[in-house]
């Protein structure tokens, strides 16, 4: 295994709280929450959502998820200074998603059911929509490509896979993160599970009543430090560790004792060589569902102590599913770089059962390490440690 540091040399993000990092920081600073009704498709459901407004618009030949991920990849490559150097390196692409992996076009299926002879237009779109393959094609990279479909931890796990590829010397540079579009299937599905809120979500609040769905993409470029230095790119951000552990408990509910998340955190911190006290903040998964926040909050207090600074950014973006880990990795890195994190939007009233509360205002932070966590359907728990050095 290769030793040496892995740096973050570029970042890109798009969500309802901004189409790039600058817009995102403006939204964070203002505390604004860009929620709306569903406008992207017809539905009877009235749940509020976090849509990305003003995308250039799909030509109908490609998925919206691709438009989102291409936007974030373009930003990340520009930031890394790699746009015109892609042929000089072994570039891997590892991206997480949920929606883009599913052939779930209702029009196609309805036509098939009714006539037995449906047009394959949406199937073609789906076949061109494997996220990693599509990005690889778009930018002309020729290294490894892999799409992670680990439900809501996909984005974090894609970064973890990228880290593994670099350590195994399978790539020089990896473009990783996640992307997902707002889609009717998860909207109806999460609604059926009783996981959606009728109002703005309130992560970790005593009166939290469920999640709001969102969409977006978050992408980081990670590479071996020596390669980054050699090509003259300066960066102060690092990926230091990654942990992934299964609950082996239930398809949709987290393990009540939180030991899966605890194991993921322990592994990530062990790889990073840090103690819990060295984490200056945690960007929590914080979906605002009663179960997730209870388990996650208890684990955070148990592992990091009651004085931990933590937040959920889903109050600004909604739950972006397979994109969440990528988006929140960018937010975590930006928080370390900028020296502040926003208030945990939606939180007002502490929940005694959780016993720990997120930050309630824009909060200055100083220190070297921050952690982003993701919990997922099926009991996946993931954590990454990001460092500023």
């Amino acid at each position: 295994m290769q030793s040496g540091n892995v740096v973050i040399s570029g970042m890109g993000v798009i969500s309802a709280c901004g189409k790039n990092i600058r817009e995102t920081l403006d939204t964070f600073a203002s505390g604004r929450r860009n929620i709306s009704k569903v406008t992207l498709f017809e539905t009877k459901l009235k749940y509020p959502v976090f849509e990305v407004k003003g995308l250039s618009g799909s030509d109908g030949e490609s998925m919206r998820t691709l438009e989102l991920v291409f936007t974030a990849v373009k930003q990340a490559l520009e930031d890394s200074g790699l746009e015109d150097k892609l042929n000089d390196f072994r570039i891997g692409v590892c991206l997480g998603t949920t929606v883009a992996s599913q052939l779930n076009d209702t029009d196609f299926y309805n036509e098939y059911k009714n006539t037995g002879n449906a047009s394959l237009r949406s199937v073609e779109r789906y076949l061109k929509g494997n996220l990693a393959e599509a990005v690889q094609d778009k930018i002309g990279a020729s290294g490894l490509a892999c799409t992670v479909v680990n439900a809501c931890s996909s984005g974090t796990d894609a970064i973890g896979v990228g880290l593994s590829w670099l350590r195994a010397d399978l790539c020089d540079i990896v473009i990783c993160g996640g992307a997902d579009e707002l889609n009717r299937v998860p909207l109806a599905g999460f609604g059926s599970l009783g996981a959606m809120s009728d109002s703005l979500c309130k992560p970790f609040d005593k009166e939290r009543s469920g999640l709001n769905l969102g969409e977006g993409a978050g992408v980081i470029v990670i590479e071996k430090e020596e390669i980054c230095r050699k090509r003259g790119k300066k960066t102060e951000l690092f990926i230091k560790g990654y942990g992934l552990a299964a609950d082996a408990y239930h398809l949709t509910a987290p393990r009540p004792d939180g030991t899966g998340l605890e194991a993921a955190l322990a592994r990530a911190m062990d790889e990073a060589g840090i103690k819990p006290s060295q984490a200056v903040f945690v960007n929590a998964h914080g979906t605002a569902t009663p179960d997730n926040d209870l388990v996650e909050g208890k684990v955070l207090s148990r592992v990091f102590g009651m004085g931990l600074k933590f937040l959920s950014t889903k109050g600004y973006t909604g739950h972006t599913l397979g994109a969440a880990g990528g988006i929140e990795a960018v937010f975590t890195a930006v928080g370390l770089r900028e020296g502040w994190i926003p208030q945990s939007a939606g939180f007002r009233k502490a929940d005694d059962e959780i016993g720990i509360s997120p930050v309630t205002q824009k909060t200055a932070i100083s220190g070297q390490y921050a952690i982003s966590t993701s919990l997922a359907f099926g009991g996946n728990n993931s954590a990454i440690v990001i460092a500023k050095g």
């Binding site: 295994m1 599913q102 779930n104 299926y109 990693a132 590829w165 299937v185 992934l244 609950d247 099926g378």
Partner: protein
């Protein structure tokens, strides 16, 4: 890394014995137009006792993973360091379409939460973790052509990082009626039910299949050992095992890799056409290396005069290269070594 255990679920049954039997028997026509997994194969109350709500996609994966774990003989002691990597090309689309049925028939506000939760790609891997009580890293990935290669590459990297000591790595794909329709529209389906893997046609024939194949892999030495496996080519093999199954289009490129005289085989006509068929080819290759036996190619049409494995019998094989070509003349190999 080493293969210490295998499990397969396919049209001809379940388990290594069924695989060996099928390889010995050779080609049989599909029951209908596809090589689907018979419903009886998925009935195992002892293994699936807590999975009554699971769909066939998850059941296939669980049974193959369970069999691979059991086949290894490693026992419960290794579960604390057991990872799971599952790969699929299309995921549980049959369940996704069932969920779309709910939406179309009853509306967005009257859908089944159970169907939704099973339509998520990683449901199968989660069931495997739950069934085995495995609490290590659990990952599901998807690619269309090189799914299994990618899973193996991650497995290699995880073992190198000591993320876990043992990994169940495998594939699962399903062929429902909608997928069959799509295959019928996009591919050339073989009217006689025969995949001809050595025709290397520009428009090859496919016969859709489904199933799951799992491997228990580790870097360490184990009592049971099939072969070692590497997700890359290493030198010249004793035998090429081709994945030509009519799924990816123009197969003329396969001719490029075959070097004079090296025996060539393919068992895709036994498994059916699947984007994840590579995992089944690896299972057949691993069995050949362990048993030091070659199995006759099930469909022997040989218009290019290749040195095919025509007979079953003992064979001194040290290494096998499993070859898959993609849509752009690209190629990946998995190398199996005795």
């Amino acid at each position: 890394m080493n293969i210490a255990g295998m499990g397969v679920v396919f049209n001809r049954g379940r388990g290594v014995q069924s695989l060996e039997k099928a390889l010995k028997e050779g080609w049989v026509p599909p029951g209908d137009s596809t090589y689907s997994v018979p419903a009886d194969t998925l009935k195992d109350k002892s293994v699936l006792k807590e999975m009554r709500r699971a769909d066939d996609f998850s059941k296939m994966a669980c049974l193959a993973a369970y069999d691979a774990f059991t086949d290894s003989g490693l026992g419960n002691g290794v579960k604390s360091s057991l990872g799971i990597i599952l790969t699929t090309a299309f995921g549980p689309h049959v369940t996704t379409f069932r969920f779309l049925d709910d939406i179309l028939n009853y509306g967005d506000d009257n859908v089944s939460p159970t169907t939704f939760s099973h339509s998520v790609h990683n449901a199968a891997a989660s069931y495997i973790a739950f069934m085995l009580g495995a609490r290590g890293p659990t990952l599901t990935v998807t690619q269309f052509v090189y799914s299994f290669h990618q899973a193996l590459i991650i497995a290699q990297a995880w073992l190198l990082e000591r993320r876990c000591e043992y990994i169940l790595v495998g594939s699962v794909d399903q062929c429902g009626t909608v997928m069959e329709y799509i295959c019928r529209q996009k591919l050339h389906l073989a009217e006689d039910g025969k995949i001809k893997p050595f025709a290397f046609s520009q428009t090859p024939c496919a016969v859709p299949g489904e199933g799951s194949a799992f491997f228990l892999v580790t870097e360490g030495k184990t009592e049971k050992h099939y072969c070692s496996v590497l997700a890359q080519a290493v030198g010249t093999p004793d035998m090429y095992l081709l994945d030509s199954d009519g799924m990816v289009g123009d197969e003329r490129c396969y001719l490029k890799i075959i070097k004079g005289g090296i025996p060539v085989t393919s068992y895709t006509p036994i498994f059916g056409s699947m984007l994840t068929v590579t995992s089944f080819s690896c299972a057949a290759g691993a069995l050949m290396l362990k048993n030091q036996q070659s199995y006759a190619v099930p469909v022997q049409d040989n218009p290019h005069g290749l040195n095919l494995c025509r007979m079953q019998g003992s064979a001194a094989i040290k290494n096998i290269s499993c070859v898959r070509y993609g849509c752009k003349n690209d190629r990946l190999e998995i190398f199996l070594k005795q």
